[in-house]
């Protein structure tokens, strides 16, 4: 089997219909001018022509913002637990139209959450999900994946990767799972010509060149600069501006901090243990029983996220945890720009 195949846009709609029959399909949709990822039931809802990124990253489909870990029942002196993991297992899903930066973010989350310990909820959802990526034809003003080594080309982590070539898609096969999908739908695919593969390369080069019009350092290699500028003045400035709203964490495709709490029923005889997304920008994030807060100063919280991306990630999994999607820049009401911060740190 060739590594590259093509499918016309018309046939892609047919493919979508077939996928909808076999999978729960998650794809970009557009509503009221906003692009977001959503479960879809109709090919007509799917928007594969969007620019830049979706507002929220795909992580919520693997690590939802609210998740019941287990439920419990207390009767007399006995406690029974009911694992919710079983409900997560076995779902066959296809995630369509995700960008290379987001594909990279899933690879990063894999390294964090499936290591010495394994987060079984995340792992089960990952196992059951086919990843069909979509490269960018047109980056938006926030994109800087070329500087974080996570785009515009995806080096792996996908089952299929599509590139829009106008009237058709060039599709790169990235795994056995992806190959099986192509094999099952051979009537829709045909082998790609050399020209078509070249066309994609040209396209990605053009996109990369566009992103590289920004002047940024190689962000995969800023560890040292960050390490020695932990007490730099600029962090105080960012701290003064930061609203501690946590939006940057929520939209970051690699942020996965969470809080865990119990939600009892009214009579207390049963309940559930729930985990929800948390944010290192919240004052409560480092509050221990008794009230002490370890990171009470806002600059220290601003730093926590940015350092986690460019430094602690390297300590943790051997690479930076920023994929250059630019979402945190887009949503920050105070205009805190992680690109700019990194650049300033390097230039100090």
């Amino acid at each position: 089997m060739e590594r590259f195949v093509v499918i016309t846009k018309e046939d892609f709609t047919v493919l979508l219909e077939r996928l909808l029959g076999a999978y729960q399909v998650i794809a970009p949709v557009e509503r009221e001018g906003r692009i977001f990822l959503s479960y879809v039931s109709d090919p007509a809802e799917v928007n594969m022509e969007y620019k830049g990124t979706t507002l929220l990253p795909p992580k919520r489909f693997f690590f939802p913002e609210v998740e019941v870990l287990f439920t419990y029942r207390v009767t007399g002196g006995r406690v029974e637990l009911y694992d919710k993991l079983e409900e997560v297992r076995g779902a066959k899903r296809a995630l369509l139209g995700v960008r290379p930066c987001d594909i990279k973010s899933l690879e990063i989350l894999d390294k964090v959450l499936i290591g010495e310990y394994k987060d079984p909820y995340y792992a089960a959802r990952r196992d059951g999900t086919l990843i069909v990526g979509l490269t960018c034809n047109e980056p938006d003003e926030y994109c800087f994946c070329a500087f974080t080594g996570s785009g515009p080309q995806a080096s792996g982590g996908f089952d299929l990767l599509m590139t829009d070539l106008g009237d058709r898609y060039l599709v790169e096969i990235g795994s056995d799972k992806g190959e099986r999908v192509v094999n099952l739908n051979l009537d829709l695919f045909k082998p790609a010509s050399k020209d078509e593969v070249n066309e994609r390369e040209e396209m990605l080069k053009r996109v990369e060149a566009e992103i590289r019009r920004q002047e940024l350092p190689d962000l995969t290699k800023v560890y040292e600069a960050f390490a020695k500028n932990f007490d730099a003045e600029l962090w105080l400035e960012y701290g003064r501006r930061c609203l501690a709203c946590g939006k940057c964490n929520y939209v970051c495709p690699t942020c996965r901090c969470f809080d865990v709490y119990d939600e009892p029923s009214l009579d207390g005889s049963s309940g559930k243990r729930v985990r929800v997304w948390d944010s290192c920008h919240f004052l409560s994030f480092t509050r221990v029983a008794g009230g002490k807060v370890f990171r009470s100063e806002r600059p220290s919280r601003v730093k926590q996220r940015i350092y986690h991306k460019y430094c602690y990630g390297v300590d943790e999994i051997g690479e930076i945890e920023c994929v250059g999607c630019g979402r945190c820049i887009k949503v920050c009401p105070a205009g805190i720009d992680i690109r700019e911060a990194a650049k300033r740190v390097v230039e100090l």
């Binding site: 929220l56 003064r240 609203l243 946590g246 009214l266 919240f282 806002r298 105070a334 205009g335």
Partner: protein
């Protein structure tokens, strides 16, 4: 085990927060099974009792009579909960910069001056349920946690955090003076989700950065309302150290 005795009281208010409680509908019946409601004028409950385990008080204190009543309730009660913005802040976050004491008025019933005071001006308040109106689920959580002997904590985040999870685009980007960035969350960002700016009804978030919001407004050409300058004087960049 004896059921905890609960009283629900109203100072001056629109009673919308109590209506929110009633809007919990069938959960109310369940709630009422775990406690003994001994006092609630709105629902016509008035039993004789000495001590209350939980007193839930809605509304602002606007007269000497209400002040007296509140002090009495406090004395009788183990736990006192302030329900809604009027009880928590005297309606300050709803009415913003309005200076109540600056209005010269003739008042009936022998009242000398106008006031609208939060409960904690007069008595110790153990827990606060914020919002105008309060959020029903928030109240339910408080109720459960108090019954279990837990400490209730209001949402630790601001409205923006919930707003972005609803896939909303930022209203500030459209030049709308939204107070989401400095307002305590827990409402599910209901106003911005409906395309309406946050009016700050739940009060300041735990770590509100008013300075920064003023800067944001200014940068985007949004007129800075007077009350933000007031708030800036009080909290500025929020908590430090």
């Amino acid at each position: 085990m004896e059921k905890p005795k609960v009283g629900i009281f109203s100072m001056s208010s629109c009673e919308g927060c109590l209506v929110q409680v009633l809007n919990l509908e069938d959960k109310i019946l369940e709630m009422m099974r775990s406690v003994e409601l001994v006092d609630c004028r709105l629902l016509g409950v008035k039993k004789s009792y000495d001590r209350l385990d939980i007193a839930i008080v809605e509304g602002a204190v606007m007269s000497d009579e209400e002040e007296r009543e509140l002090r009495e309730i406090r004395e009788r009660s183990k736990i006192l909960v302030a329900l809604g913005d009027c009880a928590c802040h005297g309606g300050r976050f709803l009415f913003k910069d309005f200076k109540f004491d600056s209005v010269p008025v003739d008042l009936p019933r022998g009242l000398k001056s106008f006031r609208a005071d939060p409960l904690d001006k007069y008595v110790k308040v153990d827990y606060y349920v914020y919002g105008c109106p309060i959020d029903g689920d928030d109240f339910l959580r408080l109720f459960k946690e108090l019954l279990m002997g837990k400490e209730y904590r209001p949402a630790p985040f601001n409205v923006c955090a919930e707003c972005v999870l609803k896939d909303n685009e930022c209203l500030l980007d459209k030049g709308i003076p939204c107070l989401g960035p400095i307002t305590r969350g827990g409402c599910g960002a209901v106003c911005p989700t409906s395309g309406r700016r946050c009016i700050g009804c739940r009060g300041l978030a735990e770590d509100a950065n008013v300075d920064s919001l003023i800067e944001i407004f200014t940068k985007r050409g949004i007129e800075v309302p007077e009350y933000l300058w007031e708030l800036k004087k009080q909290v500025g960049g929020g908590r430090r150290g």
